[in-house]
Amino acid sequence: MNQPMRALTGAILAAALLWATPAGAQIKRVVVRVDGLSCPFCAYSLEKGIKRVKGTGGPVINVEKGVVTLTPITGQRVRFDDLRAAVSKAGFTPREVRVEGVGRIESVGDRYALVSEDDRRLFFLAPNEVLSGVLSAAGRIIEFNGTLVDRKAGEDSAVRTLALVAAAAREGTDAK
């Protein structure tokens, strides 16, 4: 193969890889359930507090359902503890935190983790039926929906544990 053909082949292969690799593996949405949200005029303090938390975009508050929905800022780590603290400081009670996104399941010792495309560990995964059902897709990109697990006493890991509620492998994504 002559030089120009090698260059062309390399460019085609690189383009194919880029096209085959899903971009933006990340947390797409965070939904915090908030109890006590019964005074719409009072939600202003909640909105202000949530906006101060780094890593998240402007919150959308649904008073009737009692949830706050946030869109994480790409490339920034979402500070879940800060989110819960902001809810408490505003005078309400934070309940479960639901996370939706895209990631890749990787084995880490005797545990499994969700990692982003740039190998940044997003969550450890709590063992449950949903995880068992999606382990066959280990190494592949999955779309996930899970609930943040409360920290255990003494646990101080920056990476939180997620209990999957739903997960499905993306079509056309092969294991690394």
Partner: protein, 288 residues
């Protein structure tokens, strides 16, 4: 009953909904808002032991109270604040008119949340509140603007809000001391309120304009005043007002509210002017 006008700011300390009754919910203004309103009280019926009698002087007392209330949340469960009223009183009679205007007695208060039970779109809370009324108003003259005394306030507050409904209760005691040679009778106040969100029917995404209606009962029982050891028989008494009101929340940081109050029970001790009616028009604004 005239002394009760100086205590109007006590009822006017209501923060957040409803309009006259105080609530244990220390939100709404993020602790950094301002509430102000104009309250007009009209007294023009002379009563003796609760029965209307003719007034040879044909007296009418009108009081305008314009307080500014500034609460600040120290923590999500502890709030301090100040109430600074401006008062105008005018007594008209066929013997001539008398009026006075100026700052009234200011009050500093502390509110502490004790119980908070939250569920989805529902909350139940209990709080206590203590306050000190300071003699910042002029206590001299025929229409005093202040009592000249340092008085103490103790209140218990309860509130339960679920979806479109809100139920509130308040019980308070005013311990009055001697000022300018007069010790006003202690006063027990009680308030109950029901609020209902008229619009929208479904409050989904915040913020949305909101229209609330309220029906309140605001009552008090006051002891007689004493001066020089002698009790004044024409002071103190019982009063219960029925107070319908409406409140419009226009956005994140402001609301407007209005209410009228009519007596359903008006039994001042001895001979005094009874309460004809009262009305309030006000706003609450989040400053920053």
């Amino acid at each position: 009953m005239l002394a009760g006008l100086l205590l109007v700011p006590v009822a006017g300390r209501a923060q957040g909904p409803p309009i006259h009754t105080d609530t244990p919910i220390m939100l709404g203004l993020d602790g950094r808002g301002v509430r102000t309103f104009l309250k007009v009280v009209r007294m023009n019926e002379l009563l003796r032991d609760g029965t209307r009698i003719s007034d040879p002087l044909d007296r009418t007392m009108t009081a305008l109270v314009y307080p500014i209330v500034v609460p600040v949340n120290l923590t999500p469960t502890t709030q301090i604040g100040v109430i600074a009223p401006f008062v105008t009183r005018r007594l008209e009679s066929n013997a001539g008119d008398v009026s006075s205007s100026g700052p009234g007695d200011a009050t500093v208060f502390l509110k502490q949340l004790l119980v908070q039970v939250d569920r989805r779109a529902e909350t139940f809370r209990l709080a206590v509140k203590g306050g000190v009324k300071l003699p910042t108003g002029d206590e001299t003259g025929p229409l005093a603007l202040g009592s000249g005394s340092v008085d103490y306030r103790f209140n218990a507050l309860a509130g339960w809000i679920k979806s479109r409904w809100g139920f509130y209760g308040e019980a308070g005691y005013a311990l009055n001391t001697n000022g300018a040679g007069v010790e006003r009778g202690d006063r027990f106040a009680y308030n109950a309120a029901v609020g209902y969100r008229l619009l929208p029917a479904h409050y989904t995404h915040y913020p949305q304009p909101q229209l609330n209606i309220y029906l309140e009962l605001n009552g008090s029982v006051a002891g007689r005043s004493t001066a020089g050891g002698a009790e004044n028989p024409d002071t103190g008494g019982s009063l219960l007002l029925l107070s319908p009101g409406v409140q419009y929340v226009g956005g994140r940081r402001w609301l407007l509210e209005a209410s009228v109050q009519v007596p359903v029970l008006d039994e001042p001790n001895g001979t005094q002017l009874g309460t004809g009616w009262a009305a309030i028009l006000g706003t609450r604004v989040l400053v920053f």
